[in-house]
């Protein structure tokens, strides 16, 4: 349940460390974003000497949330933190590596590049 003002960690090596959600992409009055949704975020903290800088507005894709993800087979999965991966307009990740586990739902949503880079898909 990510909404504007939510801080998220970053799961790739694009250069950003922490993002703050500004907007949930989807309907006009859409309240929350879950795993698999795209958000507009501003970079709150960045690794020095990388192409991305602090207070840059970018798009990100949510990969892990503390709010449970419910599957059709009855499985409920909860992660330990809220994490996103920075993407560009097409949906390709900006970084070259992904850290941590990724939910299987991303494959259905055509984020295949992220899924292929992920060390573990749960």
């Amino acid at each position: 349940m990510i909404q504007p003002q939510t801080h998220l960690n970053v799961a790739d090596n694009s250069g950003a460390r922490e993002l703050m959600c500004i907007r949930v992409i989807g309907a006009s009055n859409r309240r929350y974003a879950h795993i698999g949704d795209v958000i507009v975020a501003v970079i709150k903290e960045a690794v020095p000497n990388t192409p991305l800088e602090r207070s840059e507005v970018i798009k990100a894709e949510i990969v892990r949330t503390r709010k449970e993800l419910k599957r059709d087979n009855g499985m409920i999965i909860r992660y330990d933190d809220n994490v996103a991966v920075i993407i560009d307009q097409e949906g390709n990740p900006k970084g070259t590596r992904i850290f941590g586990a990724i939910a299987r739902e991303l494959r259905q949503l055509n984020f295949t590049k992220i899924v292929s880079l992920a060390p573990e898909v749960l």
Partner: protein
């Protein structure tokens, strides 16, 4: 579909039940119900929480080593479907389950045996001391046929037949 074991209480988690928690190092914790999940969030150690299997196994309350446990190992390679194999496995599961539960209950019964004997001894002692509450001393003295029942001992089995049982 896979039947997991709850990380906290070690009961089986069936599909549609419980929550899986994925830690940042990608270790998955399965929980059978919110009770176990909440205990985990409280950072309780299952080895110290009395009602969990972990505690019971650690403190010798439940059977720990048995050959029947070998049958329920986690196997990661899927077996090619074979009708005969599946049929035999199902039959075997039932039998092994019965054997394992019988052995487990025997283990508990043996464990509780010493306590039972102790309690019987104490009850006997109490009866001896407090016989005046049960039967008036005068009546006891008059009717010498009334007396306490002997302990059913293997050694003194012959003596029990001679003495009559006590009135309530």
């Amino acid at each position: 579909m896979r039947l997991e074991k709850c990380w906290f209480c070690s009961s089986t988690v069936y599909p549609g039940h419980g929550i899986q928690f994925v830690r940042n190092d990608a270790k998955i914790f399965h929980f059978c119900r919110s009770k176990c999940h909440k205990n985990f969030k409280m950072k309780r150690n299952p080895r110290k929480v009395k009602w969990t299997k972990a505690y019971r196994r650690l403190h010798g309350k439940d059977m720990t080593q048995d050959s029947t446990f070998e049958f329920e190992r986690k196997r990661n390679r899927p077996e090619r479907y074979d009708r005969n194999l599946a049929e035999n496995t199902l039959k075997a599961i039932k039998k092994i389950d019965k054997i394992r539960s019988d052995r487990a209950s025997d283990h508990i019964k043996n464990r509780l045996k010493t306590g039972k004997v102790q309690r019987q001894k104490e009850a006997r002692k109490q009866l001896e001391l407090g016989i005046h509450l049960v039967k008036a001393p005068l009546a006891l003295a008059q009717d010498s046929s009334l007396c306490l029942p002997k302990i059913k001992d293997n050694v003194s089995q012959a003596q029990t037949e001679e003495n009559q049982p006590m009135e309530e």
